[in-house]
Subunit: 208 residues, 2 copies
Amino acid sequence: MASAKLRREMNRDRLEADVVAEAVRVFAANGYEGASVAAIAENVGLSKQNLMYYFPSKQALYQRVLDDVLDEWLARMANIAEQDGEPADVLRAYIRAKLAFSREHPLASRVYAMEVISGAPVYGEKIRERVVPLVRKDIDVFKRWIAEGRIAPVNATHLLFAIWAMTQSYADFSTQMKLVLGRGELAAQDFHEAEDTITRMVLAAIQR
Amino acid sequence: MASAKLRREMNRDRLEADVVAEAVRVFAANGYEGASVAAIAENVGLSKQNLMYYFPSKQALYQRVLDDVLDEWLARMANIAEQDGEPADVLRAYIRAKLAFSREHPLASRVYAMEVISGAPVYGEKIRERVVPLVRKDIDVFKRWIAEGRIAPVNATHLLFAIWAMTQSYADFSTQMKLVLGRGELAAQDFHEAEDTITRMVLAAIQR
DNA sequence: GTCTATATTCAGATAGAC
DNA sequence: GTCTATCTGAATATAGAC
């Protein structure tokens, strides 16, 4: 009895995960309005009506996608800046983690980016609740380092904005980068060079 | 005769400019698919059908919007890197110009960003023709500086990607920045601090 | 050039049988 | 939970009178 229910729930979880994974692709490629539930359903092998049995509305599915994106992102990025260690080492780890996310989850990054660029009409409140406090904590860490004289007195907020922008662009703007590099895909080498260049800029800027 | 025609054409130009300006707003806020021609027409005081007399299709209007966005961007950004002068001064001017564009034309930046994030399905070819050569020229300037020993041997390509990402984010991600800063709008002061921080990072990185 | 009217397609969502 | 069938609204686009 319990095991049958458990198995059913695992199947459901797996199915939902499949749907969400496909939804990320479609939302990333077309934006919220441009995405069609029918397309997502077809790609995942469900009827549109059946998909809507699991996700009652397109918005509900979209919110679930954003929730999952943010969960994954928080799991990787939370608490990096708060770790002990030399500022240079912490910043290196932070840049590396954020670039790795861009490389491993470019679609997730793009869905989030499009939502923000559109003015965060559906996810603004969640960003305020879940992202902003984390960002502020990271900024506070930078400020503490400055107060303690461990790094140069840079503008902590804009330093973080800069790190975010530089690392995230390797997911969001990879299409343009590929055109500039004349390459079909960004390769491991590109991400290494990116990491070196970004790290160099950040560490040079905080040099006392 | 000729003056009547001229006047008519000026009116038409003005009307088209009004439509394009409004279209930028709507495309930036909703993406290509999410934008509706009817909404654009209404906001500009035309009937939908009348608008489609001037722009035969939604895609044509969208392409026109992107063309105008790119024209404006090229008018400001082309040839900055190619100017004579100390690398530090040229880079300062480049960063300032790009930040000014983000500040003065955030909607233009967002429309372009969404197109690129979506994979540039309609504007990819134009980007290849009009943007990529310019970017490559700028990168070549950086490489020449390195070869001449005027700046440190950084990765020229990724340095440019970094500058683009940092400056552009003040248009594209301003919604998130405003939430972090707890402010309704980005102010002149924010852009000054951004410019200082970005310039510091770039100049520190090229320091020999 | 501008209007009324309409064709056509497509999307999200719901009802109800099984 | 899954299916067939359908409703409803919106959006692009076109036809044709004035």
